[in-house]
Structure formats: structure tokens, C-alpha cells
């Protein structure tokens, strides 16, 4: 079987007969969370706690996703509060 360079994913997809369910689910979930978080940040800059209340998600998960979004360049870290405790996060425009 000849496979075209640059289109090998298709080959494996066909060979496996589809995409692993878990991977599909995980991607869907991440995209939803990403959208929710970015929408929330469109309105105002938020700390982890505020985000947690706003999108109803435990703070530790908020931190994980938010920091991942910082890593991917969607979000950036803002100022720290007066107590030097919590940072706010904002959209990276």
C-alpha cells in the first residue's frame, strides 16, 4: 500500500478503523472547557477562584486548564493581588 507523505494519519485511522473513544471524548471536553474559560475571560480578568465560581469547576482543575492555556498562548498571567496570594489571568490578545 502506498501512503502519501503528509497524510499518514489517514492511513493509521483506516488501519485502526477509527479513533480511540477516550481520545475523542477528552478532546471534546477540553474544547468545551477552553471555550468556557476564554468566554469568561472575555468579560473580565479572573483569579482561579473567581473562574471556579463562574464556570462551576473545582479550583484545582481550573488551575490545570488555565495554566495549560497560558502555555498554549491563549491566556496570560496578570497582576497578583494586594496580599501577594492570587494572580489574575487575562486573555492574551
Amino acid at each position: 500500500m502506498e501512503v502519501e507523505i503528509g497524510k499518514t494519519a489517514k492511513y493509521l485511522r483506516e488501519k485502526l478503523g477509527g479513533i480511540p473513544e477516550q481520545a475523542k471524548k477528552n478532546l471534546k471536553e477540553f474544547n468545551a472547557i477552553k471555550r468556557k474559560m476564554l468566554d469568561a475571560l472575555k468579560e473580565e480578568d479572573l483569579t482561579v477562584k473567581q473562574m471556579s465560581e463562574k464556570i462551576d469547576m473545582p479550583t484545582h482543575e481550573v488551575l490545570y486548564y488555565l495554566m495549560s492555556l497560558v502555555k498554549y498562548g491563549f491566556v496570560k498571567t496578570g497582576e497578583v493581588d494586594d496580599m501577594d496570594e492570587y494572580y489574575t489571568y487575562k486573555l492574551n490578545k
Binding site: 503528509g6 492511513y11 477528552n26 478532546l27 492570587y86
Partner: protein
Amino acid sequence: MEKESSIPNGTNSNSPLGVGDSNPIKNITYDALVIGAGIAGGEVALNLANTGYKVLLLDKELSVGGKMIMLSKVFPTLDCAACITTPKVSEISRHPNITIFTGSEVSNIKKLSDNEFTAKVTKHPRYVRVEDCTACQLCEKACPVNVRDQYQFGLIGRKAAFIPFSICSPKAAAIDIDNCTLCGACEKVCPTNCIDFTQETEIMNLHVKTVVVATGFDTFDAKKMPRYGYGQYKNVITALQMERELAPTRPFNTILRPGDGKVPDKIAYVLCVGSRDASVGNPICSQICCMYSIKQAQLLMGALPMADVTIYYINIRSFGKGFEEFYQQAKGMGVNFVKGKIGRISEKESGNLILRYEDINEGKLQEAEHDMVILSTGVLPNTGIEKFFESQTLTLDPFNFVGQSDALASPAKTSIEGVFVAGTATGPMDIPDSILSAGAASSEAISYLINQQN
């Protein structure tokens, strides 16, 4: 990077798109096989290569450098670990006598005669042709998937097409096939067309004259001590996770507690988590936890000048060269040392943690509140290596580390003549001791090789 194609007696297995050819099992031959490309295995490979022997250096991870390359700074000199490992790693990967197989495993090791070992090498596909990858990260950018990054101990996410970490070697992307949605986005953006989903697991027959086991160590799984709440209380983390938070390539770019992103200011270290503890099956001392905790405490005091750091200990084991001075220095910097093992940790609604301990100096039960707790988890053997030896038994010690047949006079010798052991595969040790142990294994292996030639 040309390494992968310089395999003697073999064709380049990664040749693209040769789909359909049923891969015949290749034979490959080297002088020495070094299992594990951590700091000990790397040192052995270098020593052997520098004296002219051809070495196959093999690691199951995607990068060489083992645990050390993941660390922040190292005690007692506070050199950054990367500054020490990266040049070594670079030397290893450039060396004409060393061939590196990452993402690979070895099994069925048989001793046929005195200078003749065979083994089966399994090379898992990376789905990236390493020699073509420029580590441009465009695939990483294009990949839509987000999963927990194992190289950051789950503190942050990464893509399914990813570069393991910034100083990894080989520095090339890899595809996490379990989490990949096979959307092909990475392929579309790759400027060198190095992504190749047609790659398959390769099996090779290896012939070598000597084997060095440098499989390193594992750390204690803190979840086995529910009374410390690891996994349940999000602000209880392990020292390796803190190591990442402190490292130059840190996930949060500052120190944050993972529970809610607060900058911690009362930090506690719990020593002897899973070491010196027969009740969890590991009665021996891990030898490094005191020192790495003291080191992290010093780094934390530097990163967060207002923070309080307390280390709860049974005995401080600062026994090595410059260690005691390093411990005294930490005391001088204001790190609190409290003698008493932590009995239980409970969580408050704020995410802060209550630590229960007996302050041995006072003989009194005490409770202390901290906003972040680091469990200094102990060193455990990386089990299973003995199962890969077939014709003769690789004997283990009572703690399941690789046994030393003549521990005092020839510490690198194992129960099988011609198989040597280096670094933490024999038991807990720090970096200098691992390197010395690797030096010893190299010496024995070179002598063995010379002896067989004569």
C-alpha cells in the same frame, strides 16, 4: 541524530512509508548494552565509548537524561541540573561510538558464552522521524489535544504531538498515540514532513559482549499512605512535582499551589514518606530525601522571600561532602527544622492543611497549619529487570534492588559474570555516588571486554 541510521549490520528501520513490507527481524551488534540512559547509564556509555567500544544505550523514555535532567538545581552546590546534564547528554548523543534507542525496551537477555549475550530489543514507534525533525514546535501548536504532561508530573497539560521537554535529547517531537485523535493537523504543518504514522514497533536481535544495568529507581507512591491525603488534597504534592515547579522550565512560571493557584507562604516538607517505614514495606533510608528537601527549601526561600518553610524530620542525614554545611546554611537562612514524623494530614475548607505530629523536643503532640505540603517520597527499586534475564538469574537484594555479588570489593558486579550494575539500580544514592558507581561499572566492563579479547 545520525545515530539512528548508523546502526551496524542493519538498514535504517525508520525509512519512511515502507508500509506493507513485513519487517524482517534485524540483527544488530555492539560491544556493550547499557540499559537505562539516566546519569549513571550515560556516564557508563561515555566511558566505554571514549575507550573505543561501541555502545547501545537504551531507554524506555523519549529522552535520555533520566531523572536528573528533570531536576531544578542539585545539592549541595546548587548547580542547575540542566547545566550539568545537558552537556553530558549532548556529548552522549554526538558520540560516534554511542547509539541511542529511546522509547525502547530490552528483554530475553541470554548469556550464550563468556563474551556473548543476545537480547531482544523492542523499539516503540515515536511516529516522528527523529533525523528530520527540527523541533520547530509547529506540530505542537497545531495539535488540538490536551492531556496531562507526564514530564511535569501532571501539573500542566501538553499536546498529543509534543516535544517531551525543552532540554530533552533527542530534541524531536513525539506523538502520544493513546491520546491522538489522528486528525492529521500536525502533518499538515510539519515543514519537514517528519511525522509518520506508518511507523511500527520494531523488534531487533541484539548481540553484545557485556551488559550494564543502569535502570535507576522509582519513587514511592504516596497514595499508599492515605493518611497524608496525596491525590485527595490537592495542595499536597510530591517533591518531584515541586522539583518541576522550581525548575527553569517550570509549569507555572512561579510557585503556585495546585489546589487553587495561590502563592504559598507556609510550606511544609514531610520527610521519610515511604522510606524508613516497615509499615509500608520499605525499611531502608532513601539517602537523598533529606538533602533534596533542604535544597528545595533553600530554593523556595529564594523564590518566595516571605515564605516560611518547615521541614519535619526524624533524623537529618546530611552525610556527604559539603552536606552538613549545606544543612547548617539552610538553618541560617531561616528554614525551620522540626523533629517529629508527621502522623496525619487533614484539609481545611480553605485548602490549607493541618499537620499532626509529635514535637520530639517537647514530647508534645502538635498541630500546624500550612498552605502547601510537599511529601519527600522515598527511593524504591525499579522492579522487573530481573525478569528480562533468561539463561541465568540476576539476583536481587532483600529490598529488590539489583544484588551486588561482591558489594565491598567489586560493587558493580552482579550475580551474572559480564553483567554489571551502575547507579541507583543497586540502591538509593545521590548524583555524585551514582556517577562514581557508573565509573566503577565502566571499569569492570572495560576490564571484562579486554579480558575477553586477550
